[in-house]
Amino acid sequence: MRTTSPVIVRIVLYAFLISATILMSFPLFWMISSSLKTLEEANSPGIVWVPEHPTSAAYTDILQNSNFLRTYFNTVFYVVLALAGTLLSVAAVAYAFSRVEWPGRNLVFFLMLSTMLIPAQALIVPQYIFFHKLGWIGTFNPIIIPGYFAGGAAMVFLLRQAMAQIPKELDESAFMDGANHIQIWWNIILPLCKAPLATVATFLFVATWNNLLGPIIYLQTVDLYTLPVFVANLYNINSAVQPWPTIMTAAVLTTVPLMVVFFFAQRFILESVVVSGLKG
């Protein structure tokens, strides 16, 4: 029936789709446009769609700001270190829940799924005390190390669903050849799960890159700040005129990695999320 729909319906459909696309991506356009404006244009009472005299002054300024550069390095450093450990441990746990039959598996799996109902933030108070006792306040440890213990039940679940679809015969024949579980996991299962691994890596990347609450609570010193904290502090309610071009320049530079990663990973995400029916 879809092919027989009249032309007018198709036109209305495309009109809706295109206007929704424009609305959804408008903040991005506005961010870039504002970052190229002068201070006067950004705070002007009229609509300035595109700056009349685009200026990259804000970019040269911020790229010479050593605080911003250090913050950027901190963020990349923290995200890479957190991602490596989290991804590896999530992949290991997903293997246990999908490719091995062991007593207690269903119970542990049920426990893991039920932790999805606990908002992680509700644990921050006792966790803060724990990290305080360890002397970890004011270091990167509290925002990196917990992930090493397969942080994120949703990620384990997503990967488990993908691993469970791989035919069992593969491991069986590998067992015949004398391989052990670790070899099968690393040499057979993980290479077959590149797409779901990319999806999980993207979700983890986005979550750590955007993380605000953890850094505010634990980092505490300006030297260790990550981008979300730094950018949020650029807006200062006490100043009469907000330096919008500077803020939006920092915003553009903060979102570029997200967009690059999403651009390369979108086909994995959009497919595997639809398959497992789960969001990140």
């Binding site: 893991m112 967009m259 979108q266």
Partner: protein, 384 residues
């Protein structure tokens, strides 16, 4: 201790990996030993070893970062523990809980705000997500690009950088959104009336919710008496307590891409034959959607409701970025997790913060249980 923070954390991370590997092998060996004692076959012993070996990182992390903290916080919630005071915690019974439930206007405000987001925000978000999913499901050209554009806000979503851009756009005087509303109202009078009607409804609803949260309905009466908004009125997005929650709803609707993907999966799972049969019976597109697709989508709506509710309790970044420096607005928009952060980390009252955490747990469990109980009434699971 090494002073360089980067080397320090790298060493700790390496030590953690070694720790996890050692503990995993220990746990696996222990479980194999128990399996052996219980007389399992050799294969079963090997599988037990492998299963616990691979699952150990999660099991250990669950104990360290979830079970133990929860146990401690349950204990602390009955004490007056503060992290700054060096005194040992004193047990004070249910004082924290009674103070929270009966004497804490901030906590009550956070409950009412969550209620608002559930009653007003979630339906809007789900409706937008469903609408976009139905549009995408029409198999158009460039579907991939549309899908990407609709999903992009989920990725950018709650990054403070993007939220600050929203703050710029939502500015009452010079923000682009209000500028557009002004321009459209001037150029096209019916739009102006629509805008004023929407403003009126929004302010009445918000005044009502503010009334619930502070027990005084004077604001509601004031809004009602002010009558239909004047012609030059625009929404006061990040300026007025009557609008602060609407900005969050706006952001929720913008970031509905994750829900949209769930609905898209649901629409894909609907057998084509059902639609064809309905078409033969003479149902038009509109009717087919409501009579065929919608009932079959109810499990997906249910899933989105459960997840969306838990997410709305946790909204933190938008409030931090949009309102943190505007104290009068904070109480009109604060979420439970934001309140938890504020209460625990401004005075470091650990006992009190623990009580808040536990109330949040109990509430999520209750609401989720209620949702699961109610689902029989409206969720259709049997397909054929």
């Amino acid at each position: 201790m090494i002073r360089n923070p980067y080397i320090n954390v790298t060493l700790v991370a390496g030590a953690t990996v070694v720790f996890i590997i050692l503990v995993s092998f220990a746990l696996a060996a222990l479980s194999r030993f128990i399996a052996k004692l219980m007389g399992a076959t050799r294969t079963k012993q090997a599988n037990t070893f492998a299963g616990y070996l691979f699952a150990a990182p999660w099991i250990v992390g669950f104990l360290i970062f979830v079970v133990v903290p929860m146990a401690f916080s349950l204990y602390w919630s009955f004490t007056d523990y503060r992290v700054t005071a060096n005194a040992a915690p004193n047990v004070i019974g249910f004082d924290n809980y009674t103070r929270l439930l009966f004497n804490d206007s901030g906590f009550r405000a956070s409950i009412v705000n969550t209620l608002f987001l559930t009653v007003v925000g979630l339906p809007v978000q789900i409706a937008v997500a469903l609408f976009l999913a139905v549009l995408l499901n029409q198999k158009t050209r460039g579907e991939r690009i549309f899908r990407m554009a609709f999903y992009l806000p989920v990725i950018l979503g709650f990054n403070t950088a993007v939220l600050l851009c929203w703050r710029l756009m939502l500015n009452t005087g010079t923000g682009i959104i209000n500028q557009l509303i002004r321009a459209l109202s001037a150029a096209f009078p019916p739009f102006g009336y629509l805008n004023r009607a929407v403003i009126f409804v929004v302010e009445i609803v918000n005044a009502f919710f503010l009334g619930i949260s502070n027990g005084k309905f004077s604001l509601l009466i004031k809004v009602w008496e002010a009558g239909f908004p004047a012609a030059n009125r625009v929404p006061l997005w990040v300026q007025s307590p009557l609008w602060s929650k609407m900005s969050v709803v706006f952001l929720m609707a913008w970031g509905c891409g994750a829900m949209m993907l769930i609905f898209l999966a649901g629409l894909n799972n609907i057998p084509k034959e059902l639609h064809e049969a309905a078409e033969v019976d003479g149902a038009n597109g509109w009717k087919r959607f409501w009579m065929v697709s919608f009932p079959l989508l109810t499990p997906y709506i249910f899933y989105n409701l459960v997840i969306g509710l838990i997410n709305s309790l946790q909204i933190f970044e938008p409030i931090y970025v949009l309102y943190r420096d505007n104290q009068p607005l904070v109480s009109s928009t604060i979420s439970m997790v934001y309140y938890l952060w504020q209460a625990s980390f401004s005075h470091f009252e650990i006992g009190y913060g623990s009580a808040i955490s536990w109330l949040i747990f109990v509430m999520i469990l209750l609401v989720t249980a209620i949702q699961f109980k109610m689902q029989d009434r409206w969720v259709t699971y049997d397909l054929y």
